[in-house]
Symmetry: C2
Subunit: 203 residues, 2 copies
């Protein structure tokens, strides 16, 4: 399907599942570089962070495997509500606070994606994009929030919810790419790779 050794610079099991879903074969190598953000604008933040992750792993891997076609995918997701950026909750009380903010209204989920690639270990190219999806929650009672937080599902997720999990019961609808909310906009990613001949139509 492609001639590149593909590396996903993320430990997220959800991103791995999404890449598998569209038929990509890849390996996983999470970036441990400290995140540095210069912007407070959500679309810029996720672009910067995805760039840093992809660049870090590309530099590591291209040293290891000289003159082999290599392609590295970096990605970062944040939730934005009313100008507040929500990352992963610090603890259960923080998860409750986030869900109280999100329930009964709309918010935005931003995912940035950066791809670095090289054909022969010499010239390196890259592109970066982001996708934004609007998500609307049904109203949630305090009891529903407490019950959902007790499930532990919110604890490792930006914005303290998993649209692909139990929280589906509380989502009225979205506008944009669903997989962008899960953590990786694989539709846009495939389109960007395909039009640069970085993956064929085997998908």
């Amino acid at each position: 399907m492609n001639n590149y050794r593909i590396v996903l610079a993320s430990a997220s099991p959800r991103r791995q599942e999404l890449l598998k879903q569209i038929g990509l074969i890849f390996e996983v190598c999470p970036s441990k570089k400290e995140e540095q953000v210069t912007s407070a604008v959500p679309s810029e933040v996720v672009k910067e962070l995805s760039f840093q992750k992809a660049e870090d792993i590309f530099q590591q891997k291209s040293k290891e495997m000289k003159s082999m076609p290599l392609l590295v995918i970096g990605s970062d997701t944040i939730v934005s509500c009313d100008g507040q950026i929500l990352g992963k909750p610090a603890d259960e009380a923080d998860a409750c606070r986030m869900l109280k903010l999100l329930q009964g209204r709309k918010h935005q989920v931003y995912t940035g994606v950066t791809v670095f690639w090289t054909k022969r270990g010499e010239e390196c190219e890259h592109f970066t994009f982001y996708e934004c999806t609007e998500v609307e929650f049904y109203p949630m009672s305090d009891q529903e929030i407490a019950s959902y937080v007790a499930s532990k599902e919110p604890m490792d997720k930006a914005g303290a919810y998993g649209i692909q999990g139990l929280c589906a019961a509380h989502i009225r609808g979205i506008s944009g790419d669903y997989n962008n909310v899960v953590g990786l906009p694989v539709g846009r990613l495939y389109q960007e790779l395909h039009r640069r001949n970085l993956c064929t139509v085997g998908i």
Copy 2:
């Protein structure tokens, strides 16, 4: 989480997965009753068909298990594009025809849901609703369509695609409930059950 014996009147593995996803415990008993449609309006068609499936299985099950709390869920999904209703493709050529119609534009997915329930096998109540989600495809080349049809994924699905499968690579975005496109709007279903005290906040 609830006191009802819940029966899903559908053989769809995707609907079963969605009910499990929100934490419901249920059994499966697909309706084999011949479908009868009196309307050509998509929202009416899916309501009628979901009603017929739920009523059929409710009648069977309520005879078997007198005076036990019983709740039956029936559901039906269709794809509508430009006034054409698309069901499951008859063969690969039909799947190609549907995908050529859908690519590069928006269409609508309708799912109807009917719930019948009884507390003690005497009085029976029911409600019916539908959800509509708009789905937008990226343009697809003939080669991409042929490759996707060769994967066999389209063959058992209304509109000849699975948004939760390989086809994610070709979806630009949606407007509405994602799970409605997969086959069951579990968000709305949970809300409708919850406000009638048919399931508690254990979800």
